[in-house]
Structures are given as C-alpha cells and as structure tokens.
C-alpha cells in the first residue's frame, strides 16, 4: 500500500514541478506572434496590380496572415512559384493543376492597332509601357510581369498577352518521362 502511495506521490511531485517550470518558461520566454504578415508581404510580387481582389499586395498578404482569406491561388503575377511558396509557408494545400497550364506571359501591343491613347500607360503598375500621347506604345518585356491589367483598358483591343518564346538560350531539358519507357528520337530519311 505504501508503495502505491509513494509512486503516486512522487509522480505528482514531478508533474507539479515540471508544470511550474514549463509555465514559468512560457511566460518568461514568450515571443510575440511571429511576423507572418511581413513575411508574406515580402513574398508577394509587390506590383499592386489588384487582380487578387484586394487593393494591393499588402492587403492580400494581411488577409492571408489573419486567416481571413483561404485561397492562396489569387495572385496572377506570382504564378505557380508563389503558390508553392505560400503553400509551404501557410501549410495550405493548393490545387496546382489549374495553374500548371498557365505559362508565363507578357503583354504585347499590336502596333498597327495602337492609337496612342496612353490609357494602358496609366494602368501599368511597373512602368513597363513606353509611349506618349498620339504616339505608338510598346511593351518593355523585361519590366512586364504579366498582370494583364492593361488588356481591358485598351479601346482598340491592341494589347494581347503572349507567352514568352522558347529559344535556344532559355530551353532546357524536360524532366525524364516515366523511366520505363523512353523512346529515342527517330531519324527519318527522306531521300
């Protein structure tokens, strides 16, 4: 009988001591809530295009951080890379299949249709459109991040989104297909 009492007593004592220590440590070393919102803001493209439905990147990041927004796929310019990063950060599973198909694009102005109204220039949040009143506009591809905000404002539908061309310089090997079947290219002779 005393054996049982000793066991219960010692365990209780250990429990109480450790509990007190942990409780004290939790107060003593408490960290303020981790600055998730700031981190998310830094991850966003920062072009304030507003396609996510929020005023700007900071607002979308804030909503995500506070848990008000459940979808991490709303940022078009961020693309797949951002969705993956957000998914890893927030632990939200995302359906990448829809995004997979969207290849990176940039805006392109059909020069013969441009009337030089400068509406697109005012719309562009990264100053990627060059031009002046009554003069033909053109896209600086390096500065365009493909938000496509300029497309709807064009009165003559001169702006289209085009995928980046695949060239000898940017091409790279695709992932090997299923390892068990790998046909080699066939050299066809047409003599």
């Amino acid at each position: 009988m005393t054996g049982i009492l000793i066991a219960i007593g010692s365990l209780t004592l250990i429990g109480l001591t450790l509990g007190t220590v942990l409780g004290a440590a939790a107060r003593r070393f408490a960290v303020k809530e981790d600055p998730l919102e700031e981190e998310l803001k830094a991850m966003m493209p920062g072009s304030q295009c507003g396609q996510c439905g929020y005023v700007g990147c900071a607002q979308y990041a804030g909503a995500l951080a506070k848990g008000e927004e459940g979808s991490i796929t709303k940022c078009a310019p961020g693309g797949k890379v951002l969705v993956e990063a957000l998914s890893a950060k927030l632990g939200i599973a995302a359906d990448l299949s829809a995004l997979e198909e969207k290849v990176p694009e940039h805006a392109f102005i059909k020069e013969e249709l441009c009337i030089g109204c400068t509406r697109c220039i005012r719309e562009c949040s990264t100053d990627a459109i060059l031009g002046a009143n009554k003069l033909m506009h053109t896209i600086i591809v390096d500065a365009c991040h493909g938000c496509s905000k300029c497309v709807p404002v064009c009165p003559t539908d001169a702006i289209v989104m085009v995928p980046y061309p695949e060239t000898v310089v940017n091409w790279h090997w695709p992932k090997p297909e299923r390892e068990n079947t790998q046909p080699r290219p066939e050299v066809v002779h047409a003599h």
């Binding site: 068990n180 290219p185 066809v188 002779h189």
Partner: protein, 359 residues
C-alpha cells in the same frame, strides 16, 4: 535528308556493359561452387530444401509484383529473387523441413522486400529478415544441425528417406550435431571454459574445409572465400565491407581472447566459424541495404563485425551475424548521410576550398 522529332533524351550516348541482371548473375556464379559442395555434403534433404526455398522466393516475388501491378517477367529476370532465395537457403539448417523454407521465403520477399516497395527500396536484407524471423519464431526447427552426410556415402539418407526428412520433419536423433559456436555457448553456460570445450569442436582445418555441422553458408569456407574474391576481381563488390567487418571481428575477438582465454574464443576461431565469411562477402555487401559510399561501407563493416562478436559472446544466440547485419542495415541511411564524398573543389562542409597558388 530531313527532320527528326525533337530529341527526347539527353546524353550520354554510350553505356557500360553493366546491368542489374548481370550483377546478380555474377553473384550467383560466385556462390555456385560453395553451394554445390554443400549440397553434396548434406545430401538429398539439403537439395530438396534448397529447391523449395529458391522456388518459393521466385513464386512469392511473382505474386507480389502482380499485386503491385509491376511488370512481372521483366523484374523476375533480374534474378534478385533467386539470389535472395539462394542466400536464404544457405542460412537455414540444411535438413530443416519444407515449411521452414516457404515461411522464410514469405518473410524475406513479401515482408522485407515488397512491403517496402520492391527491389532497391528495402531497408533490411531480405534473406537475413527471413532467417532471423524464423529463428525467433521457430527456434527448435531452426537449430537442428546435422553433421555432414555426403551424398552416396554410408549412412547418408536416400531419396525416399530424404523426402521423409524434408516433408515429414523427422531428423533421426542420431544424426543431429551441434554447431561449433553453439557447442561452445552451451558448454560455457554449464561452466565449462572455452579452453576445454574447444577440444570438442572440429579443428581449424576441418572448420576451414567445411567438414562440420552448420547451415550451408557456414561450411565450406574456402569455396565461399574464393567466391568472394571472385566478386572482388569482377568489381561487383569492393574490399571495404569484407575487410572492415572481418578485421574488426578479428581484432576485438583477439583482444578479449588475450585478456581472458577461458571466456573468449580466439580471433581466428571467430573468422572461420559461423557465417563470418559468407556474411562478410555476400550478405553485408548487399547493395541495397549497405551504404553507398566507400567510407560509409568501412563504418558499416566495422559495425557488423563488432556487433557480431558482441552477440556471439553476450547474447542468447550463438551466432550473431544475421542480427548484426540487420542492426547495421537500420543505420545505413544515417551512415549515408554522414559519409557523403567530398565534392571537387569543396571541403567536407561543401564550402569552396581556399585558393592556393603554386605551379
């Protein structure tokens, strides 16, 4: 002349002559002389058990592949199931009943190999899993050793009698004998010192030639050794695991033997008894379950040697090779992680080397 479709696969456009099938086949070839000698030594019951075990392994592999939806014919052709069955049969008592072989095959192939994802994915050596599970579950059936009864020799069981042994499970009591390691362990437990019990086990010469009781892989040491050296010559295995394993086993055994000869057997005895040589060349060197880098293999081999010695001397089982290999198998991933080779132009931490200018 004209167009080709876009090229589908990058180089290289040359390949060495190695293949999985060829590798496995070479190992089987290396095992063949020792196996033939042992089958001769233990006669028909051994031949029956060997056939059953290998057959069961191949059949179970086929069933597992079918269930997993993998190509059956192509994968069977890699001979890995044959090799597992072969090594498994060599680790069983040669006169064990048929169900020992079949059950061991199920544990080896279905549990140790395919439950982990099939060839290349298993953490533990399948043959050793089969053997140890059987040893723990059926200790009696797994420790009936017989002295060699060469085929056609006087007193060797005939074919009919052998069927009775393998399928009826009747090993005549007069024929059973203890293995050397087992004998010494038993005697030690009775308080008889090693120095005395050693006189009752076959002498080192007989041990080396294989004329002794034990599983098939434990006898015919010379032929196993020859097979192992053949594998090294063929560059199927490197020297790292066998040398570090046998070296560490010999060193620690010799050290303790020098300290207390009455308690511990000599280093040489440890090398020639049990499954030391088979383990060093054929079991611990299993590609899938041993580390991939050479330095990792040295660590792994040394671990197996030390554990084998510890188990033989301090644990309940007289032979510890199988357990030692399995224990080290579980450490393989972590050994791999800590023994990555040093990259060209970088130090071990992966930082670029300092610039030294000399020429």
């Amino acid at each position: 002349m004209s167009v080709v479709a876009s090229a589908k696969k990058s180089g290289p456009f040359a390949h060495g002559f190695s293949s999985v099938q060829k590798t496995m086949f070479t190992v089987l070839l290396a095992l063949a002389p020792a196996t033939a000698f042992n089958l001769y030594l233990f006669g028909w019951p051994a031949i029956l058990l060997f056939t059953i075990t290998v057959g069961a392994c191949v059949a179970i592999e086929a069933v597992c592949l079918q269930l997993a939806g993998k190509p059956v014919g192509a994968t069977l052709a890699d001979c890995s199931a044959v090799l597992t069955g072969w090594l498994l049969a060599m680790s069983l008592p040669p006169w064990a009943p048929w169900w020992v072989g079949v059950l061991a095959a199920i544990f080896a192939i279905a549990l140790a190999k395919h439950a982990f994802g099939g060839i290349g994915q298993n953490v533990f050596n399948p043959a050793m899993v089969g053997r140890t599970v059987m040893l723990i579950s059926f200790p009696v059936a797994m420790t009936i050793w017989v002295a060699p009864h060469p085929l056609f020799s006087a007193g060797a069981p005939g074919l009919a009698e052998s069927f009775a042994i393998t399928f009826g499970g009747n090993v005549p009591d007069t024929m059973s004998a203890a293995s050397a390691l087992g004998h010494i362990k038993t005697e030690l437990s009775r308080g008889i010192p090693v120095t005395q019990s050693m006189s009752q086990v076959p002498d080192l010469m007989d041990m080396t030639l294989g004329y002794r009781a034990g599983s098939m892989g434990e006898t015919s040491l010379l032929l196993i050794l020859a097979g192992g050296l053949f594998l090294m010559a063929k560059r199927i295995i490197s020297w790292h695991i066998p040398v570090s394993m046998m070296g560490s086993l010999f060193l620690i055994a010799a050290l303790f033997h020098a300290i207390d000869p009455a308690r511990f057997t000599s280093g040489t005895f440890h090398l020639v008894s049990g499954a030391t040589v088979l383990g060093a060349f054929f079991i611990a060197t299993d590609y899938v379950t041993s580390p991939v880098s050479k330095s990792g293999q040295l660590v792994f081999g040394a671990g197996v040697g030390l554990l084998t010695w510890s188990i033989r001397n301090f644990a309940g089982y007289p032979e510890g090779m199988a357990f030692a290999v399995l224990l080290m198998n579980s450490l393989t991933p972590i050994i791999d992680q800590y023994t990555r080779p040093r990259a060209f132009g970088r130090n071990r931490k992966g930082e670029p080397l300092p610039l030294e200018k000399k020429p």
